[in-house]
Symmetry: C2
Subunit: 328 residues, 2 copies
């Protein structure tokens, strides 16, 4: 039916899988969301990626077999063949897994895989809040804290593993991180680490409505929505833990800016998008005392493509003009 | 006399000025060193830069007026006109100063100014220990801790202020830095901060031979040579303070590597070169527990051009094939 080619994009997150079908102008024709499976390991995840893509194609009224390709943004280090390694925030996902090959067989169409944070950063750079910048740090505040870099207009991925801003050390010998190390920014600001921290505080007798809200909503984790609701309710422990996260984000992002002197910082991810501009500006304020050149801080914006940014960014891996993202 | 053109290079450090005259093959024909003046502000510094350059030309038996140009590596942020700002480690140096213009008038030859750390990093990349790498972090451990970046074979200077690795936060709300902020890597590892720390420890009754060695050598500061001597003597406070510096360097450099995933790290600067490979390897070991991808750490080398690297790097600003360094 459509003369215009269509593309699939999937964002694989620690808690949810977001799929979109887009046209050549990057307009979203349909989308679908599924929870990331907590069991079944990599094959279980790939089955849900395929199911989410089928749902999105159905929503877009596009025949799955007509998609010109599907791009996936995945946590971890991704090689050119689309093999994913070190995706520690996915449950049961150790070692390496040939994601592109497996999903391509499942969907019967070409699949390319990129790092989730890098593709989301590129989406903001090409289509979103960072269109006017040539250098950019994307900070994705969710289950973990990921970072993406655009320098002189092109993605910087180092030897394939760049952007791990969540594991910059902000407190030497500090809190234990979900990665097993100490003092990482993510140990204070990642949603998984924050949930563990809250659970320990509750064990010590601190009061909070966070887990009550979680049960009321039938969730098994403290989602971004639950955090937002608790903050709106004035939950004291939630406020304190988010403030601790904001201070860690401020120090870590300022450290990255001191090293790289980028023009712009984009705050995305589940928490970043859900909490929005007021919190992005609190992060900017928390950066300020740590900036070496404090007279011209970088601009700090919330990711403009919102929840769909990761999936739209993933579609850029296969869309016609997306080859800029293949630079390594 | 010489048919081959000659160039001047000057490294302006917090404690010393190092000048060289080089030929077209970057061979050092003569060199000279003077202490950085502690009074007289920018004009006093420029007078000593000129004097050091005249000394080096005399040592090289080259007529100063025959130099094709003089490059200067200076602390601070440098604009295209060679104006230096934010050189806080130079005594009495606040605001901005037109260094290139002033020194060019003094020496009657073309002068270009670059950031000291960036030119030293480029010297190691083009002529020294990092010749085989396309991506590189230079860490210059001296009065302060500076950083230089080469990414995909070209210097990365951001908006002109990149590379401030010394002011990455390694301990949120930690020790007071010489920059006035808290918890910077330089607050633990910079020679100026270490000297202040030792003085406070002595006030509290701790014993050390550091200041005795300083007086014996007729110095007014704890130089790299004095630190090296105290370490050789087994001075317990010196050992503890250097170990604290090594741990901070390990955390900060590992954070930078987690963000950028560079191939190589060069350890230079007065202390880095004086303490040499055993300490570079201790820094590498201190990085290891903080590396997110710990299976393939970057190679860590001591700056190969040693004490003269900064001055040789500065000469690249004016040498025939040095224009690669002008990219901003």
């Amino acid at each position: 039916m459509a003369a215009m080619p269509t593309y699939g994009g999937i964002d694989l997150g620690g808690t949810k899988i977001q799929a979109v079908v887009v046209d050549d102008d990057h307009e979203v024709l349909g989308s679908a969301r599924r929870p990331t499976p907590t069991s079944g390991g990599p094959p279980g995840v790939v089955a849900e990626l395929a199911a989410a893509m089928r749902d999105a194609a159905r929503a877009a009224e596009v025949d799955l077999t007509l998609l010109a390709g599907v791009g996936v943004g995945s946590p971890g280090t991704i090689d050119d063949a689309g093999t994913v390694s070190g995706a520690g925030n996915l449950p049961g996902w150790e070692g390496s897994f040939a994601m592109a090959k497996t999903l391509a067989a499942e969907l019967a169409c070409p699949v390319r895989v990129g790092n989730d944070v890098q593709v989301a950063t590129e989406a903001e750079f090409r289509l979103g809040a960072a269109r006017s910048y040539a250098s950019l740090l994307g900070v994705f505040w969710g289950t973990g804290v990921g970072g993406g870099l655009i320098l002189a207009g092109v993605p910087w991925t180092g030897r394939g593993g760049a952007g791990e801003i969540g594991h910059m050390v902000v407190v030497l010998d500090g809190a234990r991180c979900t990665c097993g190390r100490r003092g990482c920014m993510e140990a204070y600001a990642g949603r998984a680490a924050m949930e563990e921290h809250v659970a320990r505080q509750v064990d010590k007798g601190r009061r909070t409505d966070l887990f009550k809200l979680m049960h009321e909503r039938g969730r098994t984790r403290l989602t971004s929505g639950i955090w937002a609701r608790a903050l709106e309710h004035g939950d004291k422990l939630a406020i304190a833990v988010i403030e601790r996260a904001v201070q860690a984000l401020g120090a870590g992002i300022a450290s990255a800016v001191n090293l790289l002197d980028v023009e712009g910082v984009i705050i995305g991810g589940g928490l970043g998008v859900r909490l929005g501009d007021p919190y992005a500006q609190r992060i900017a304020a928390a950066m300020q005392p740590h900036l070496f050149i404090d007279s011209r801080p970088p601009n700090v914006h919330v990711a403009e493509l919102g929840d769909l940014g990761g999936a739209i960014g993933a579609s850029l891996l296969v869309a016609g003009d997306g080859h800029r993202s293949a630079r390594s």
